[in-house]
Subunit: 421 residues, 2 copies
């Protein structure tokens, strides 16, 4: 596999035109779209319109005239197309952490009639915010949070399980759970399943209805390209939306935008019907606007085969990266963390190295190859198929080879650790 | 009082130059800054910089290099200067509703050692989201939410009170509580006080430390001019920040950004010290950027006398409005809802009318005078002293006079009610 082979792969790539939707600095090899998606070209102009015209000129009237009140559901409906949900089942609002609190709380409420089910089961290496929110709710509601390695999770799906809470793709390893199988097993065992799609939405074909999952949440600023700290999303299976019409089944973040009639300003909370009750405070219009532009970049792939085509390219990219690392960086102490089995792989490749993982990532960043480090020893590379090219993969591995072969990462300035999301 | 008198007041107004900070459509008389603050001129350019340079070019590196991680506290420190708080005591994050959930939950936790104190007392006409969040937490934690008219609240501050939760300025009436007196009374009675400063921050001199309040929250998109759905803010008195170092005193929204070491990715939650634990998910950078620009427009008043000068102008504006309504719209069925006593008045004037309040507001909007309607019978006019002129007051009352005298509001097209925040 040569550099020219990679250029040829790009020339043949039917998804290649989608990259033009983004502004990516020409000299940069950006393999961190799983942390912060790239900037869509449309976002700046659309935000200018919202700021100058909708806010600056129309002011308060835009809550009606510009559809601001509907934006959480409008953006939610677009995201629904990417995750196998139906219109009216998804909202975009708040953060992933806050949304997880809402849905996990709802799931625990639904299980309160089953006093034998006191367990929330999750993966020990799940993204920390998921574990922290679950830990908090477990304390508050008297449940036990049971953490296990991925391979031991099926054995924990039993009559004691209240809620199975998993992130489909592990943020650190890139390992992909079999959502359909686990959600089915949970359902057959009388438990509920809550899915974090942070590293899935936009890159993996998802079908929440086929999986019969119960709740899902996800992140707006990774593969959905919604911008730093973008609003997150939240899905609830309609069987629960109906069941939860019951007045007693509130969500704890009972803010006014989730009220059945917010503008009646009544003193008592009456939850809105449907997904609307999962809203809380006033919609964040600037963030939702940018998120909509980001989601549109993924929907733009529909004429090219949509998410399945993105998935095929993503696998081609990770396959190429793993192969080139194997060829060019052999005997450099790197090991593949991400599963070899592509059916078990998200849209990233994680490599582990006993020594210097942080410094190697820093040395790569200095050379214009942006990946990231995940404690304690992981070099993480994300492959956003909308804008990552095969030549980027080749160039990234070439830089990695040079950094390792030349020992450049040993320079002192690469040693200091700083916080990066 | 003539139109020329009003022009003369503007000519003499030392704060008049501050209006140039905003883009307000020339033909508009905007008396709704208490619902959505006007657009600062700086906001568009600053957001372009964040989008094009920080996000588009520097991408993930901006979490460090552009100070994104620090933005909630940086903006919080600026807001602290407006509310009598100290640096490090305020964060800007999430929505008002979500922040109220955090602090009210913390206040209830602090009172759990006092089983005799099971009451949360608030005002019956408090803003609904505050009541809903309190109702939700009261149910969850086994407290009683007791609602009363403002004048009956002091009598409810007794040994049964856990938390007094009030909005300093009533959204509907514009009536202003005596925060210092009520917070002191609550403290002396062994209770805690939680204050919503949504209609206070930026227009009322505030001194949370002098009042010895316990917790406060507030809105970013009203007098702080942070844009539609801007992040809200949250303050905690340092005595609780210290006390709550105790591992057991979590806030329920235990997201990763409130963790002591978010980037260690440890499986168990350890709350950060200080105000940082009141963060939850990833900071919303676009919203925080716009909020910072908005807060800067208020801080720009410091050389002109700061918030006390803004308060003096605000009172002059509401005084003028009430007087002109009295003179020009006598016998039109309007009554003043906002207290006559200026020490009890926020930065708005609310008028009630038995018939047609909604339609009158609509007719005024058509004539370029933007106020709003609050069910069931209130016409509400906000006076943001940073950009409202005395001539705006004169012109608004003249339009109100015409609408009432001519009966224009009776036209059918003004009758249909739509949702407006």
């Amino acid at each position: 596999m040569t550099r020219d082979d990679c250029l040829a792969l790009d020339a043949q790539d039917p998804l290649a035109p989608l990259r033009a939707q983004f502004t990516i600095p020409p000299a940069l090899i950006y393999l961190d779209g799983n942390s912060l998606g790239a900037l869509p070209r449309a976002t700046g102009a659309r935000l200018r319109q919202v700021i100058d015209h909708e806010w600056g000129t129309d002011l308060i009237r835009s809550w009606n005239s510009a559809g601001w009140m509907e934006l959480p559901r409008k953006v939610g409906d677009k995201i629904a197309r990417l995750i196998g949900a139906r219109p009216g089942e998804v909202i975009a609002a708040d953060s992933t952490s806050v949304n997880l609190y809402k849905v996990l709380s709802a799931a625990l409420l639904l299980q309160r009639a089953n006093p034998g089910r006191r367990r929330i089961v999750s993966e020990r290496s799940n993204f920390p915010t998921d574990l922290y929110i679950a830990e908090s709710l477990a304390r508050e509601r008297g449940f036990d949070l049971v953490l296990a390695e991925a391979e031991n999770i099926p054995a924990l799906i039993d009559e004691r399980l209240a809620v199975l809470m998993l992130t489909e793709v592990n943020y650190r390893s890139g390992a992909l759970h079999d959502m359909a199988a686990l959600a089915l097993q949970a359902r057959q065992a009388g438990a509920l399943s809550v899915w974090d799609l942070a590293h899935s939405a936009g890159v993996l074909p998802l079908d929440l209805h086929a999986a019969q999952a119960d709740f899902a949440i996800g992140c707006g600023y990774k593969y959905l390209n919604g911008g730093p700290g973008a609003p997150a999303f939240l899905w609830v299976h309609p069987r629960h939306l109906e069941r939860m019409q019951h007045e007693d089944l509130w969500q704890p973040l009972a803010g006014w935008i989730g009220h059945a009639a917010p503008f009646e300003f009544t003193p008592h909370y009456v939850p809105a019907g449907g997904i609307a009750r999962y809203q809380c405070g006033t919609p964040q219009i600037l963030g939702l606007t940018a998120l909509e532009c980001g989601v549109d970049t993924v929907l733009a792939a529909e004429p090219f085969g949509g998410v399945p085509a993105l998935r095929a390219k993503s696998l081609a990219l990770t396959r190429l990266f793993a192969r080139l690392v194997d060829e060019c960086c052999a005997d450099q102490g790197l090991s593949l963390v991400t599963p070899q089995d592509e059916r078990r792989r998200g849209s990233q490749i994680s490599l582990a190295r006993d020594e210097g993982a942080y410094a190697i990532v820093q040395a790569l960043i200095e050379r214009g190859v942006i990946g990231d480090f995940r404690a304690p020893d992981v070099l993480r590379f994300g492959f956003a198929p909308l804008y990552t090219r095969f030549i980027d993969v080749w160039n990234a591995v070439e830089q990695l080879r040079q950094v390792l072969a030349g020992g450049f990462w040993r320079e002192a300035r690469f040693a200091e650790r700083r916080a990066v999301t």
